[in-house]
Subunit: 279 residues, 2 copies
């Protein structure tokens, strides 16, 4: 082979959804140049010897086709299925098995080797809380409902299109938090007051702000050429929103270059919700 | 120590959000009895020696308080920070470092040891697609908009409260798919026809169904004592919806005992979207 590396096919294989395999695999691959990898192939629900053999055959076929060893990230729990899948010419990393042995030694008990448990439990209170939080967040987007704010774990505020909606949803989905959100609009700035419904929930408020240039870009995609999207208007709204949040003592962060995962994690830290559901 | 195990405190530590550490840690812990563990402590954004020392101090304090070694799942990328955090009396499992060495050997290149990359990239087309998908899904929940269905990657259909909304959101958030959803309502059953807007998007339709008993339970929480929630009505709606989907040749699955992660993963497999965004 020449000095130029051939890009590898990546497999995510699991007895459940494969979401955990992909999360860790993706984290690992971000430590290397993107060009080294092809788009991943997901093989979820590998929970029988037959499906394990099919998965092994797909990996072997890929090796045959590309001429280079694929990378296989698996979260299979069963040693039997792992053996079948990993019996191929590929780099196979067993994300669960690797750590089960040290955990067993530390805890002094054997693991249960139960398949598909991580994302398969629907009768737990954590799961129910999470679904309830999603429904709540849906019903309390963009200030559509003042009712039930006393149930909110957090209320995001900020100018239109600063990232409140996706962040609220992520807070609900990942952390099981009931996240309402309220836009701060020109009318609020004129009155120089928070929307009336928020006054009595001050401790739950968290602000998002954004660079005016970034905001103008986002709004421009939505309403090209509008006054709403103009840089001048965005500057004025952002300035007024920050002034209002400062005056009202609302914590805030700048969402401009942060992902919704980063914003949500920061919000959770800041509001110090200790009782959030484990995932 | 006696034969009864003392429950351990679990730490999730990361230079980024900690979401990957928690996903894999949670998967591992589901292989053991819940009673062995206390609610987890998350320490995200450990990206400096100072924060690493703070994290180590928190772990040490927990060991002191509880008398048993905590369990530490970390996705720290920097060897220096890992050394500081892991220099405590605890079981420390290094989820990234463990696999970086075999990957480096396989690929024949060194990793970049870049901190916080996994959930920190906002200027990629994948990330933008994902945010766009979330916004799309939000705007096309519960049949609120017929417009733009040609843009949808998938359109979920099913009776009211069978799980369409959380599944749609998960499809958008995890897989970057534009997922619209449409309720099947008594009026559709009377006409014995799909809602008019859906006729020209048949290949994107995917049905969810549910056990009438489970549906009645969910609806009862929403509207106690209503005809809408009665078992009789739920039976009749579910039967009619399944008949309609069968007649129209729509693939469907039963959501009754599946998590939104499992339903979404199955939908992705079924609709064979090959071009979905890697996470």
């Amino acid at each position: 082979m020449s000095g130029v590396p051939v890009s590898r096919t990546v497999f995510y294989i699991s007895d459940g959804t494969g979401i955990t395999a992909e999360a860790l695999g993706h984290s690992l691959l971000t430590q290397f140049d993107d060009a080294l990898f092809r788009p991943p192939i997901r093989i979820p629900f590998v929970n029988s010897t037959e499906k394990a053999r099919e998965a092994a055959a797909r990996i072997a076929a890929e090796k045959e086709k590309s001429g280079v060893r694929p990378l296989v990230f698996s979260t299979l729990v069963s040693p039997e299925l792992t053996e079948i899948v990993h019996n191929v010419d590929a780099l196979c990393l067993s994300l669960i098995e690797t750590f089960v042995a040290p955990l067993e030694a530390e805890l002094g008990v054997r693991s249960t080797h139960t398949i598909g448990r991580s994302h398969g439990l629907t009768d737990t209170s954590d799961y129910k809380n999470r679904i309830e939080a999603i429904n709540y967040t849906f019903a309390h987007d963009d200030g559509v409902s003042d009712g039930g704010l006393e149930e909110a774990d957090v209320i995001l505020v900020g100018v239109s299109r600063c990232g409140k909606t996706p962040t609220s949803l992520y807070l609900a989905m990942q952390f099981g938090l009931k996240a309402a959100n309220f836009p701060l609009i020109p009318e609020d700035f004129e009155r120089n007051q928070l929307p009336g419904a928020l006054g009595s929930h001050r401790s739950k408020l968290f602000g998002l702000t954004i660079l005016p240039e970034r905001l103008a870009q986002i709004r421009e995609e939505r309403r090209p050429g509008s006054r709403y999207a103009s840089l001048e208007n965005c500057r004025s709204e952002v300035r007024a929103a920050e002034r209002l949040m400062k005056r009202e003592g609302i914590r805030w962060l700048d969402s401009s270059s942060k992902s919704i995962e980063e914003i949500s994690t920061t919000v959770v830290q800041e509001i110090r919700v200790e009782r959030i559901a484990p995932r």
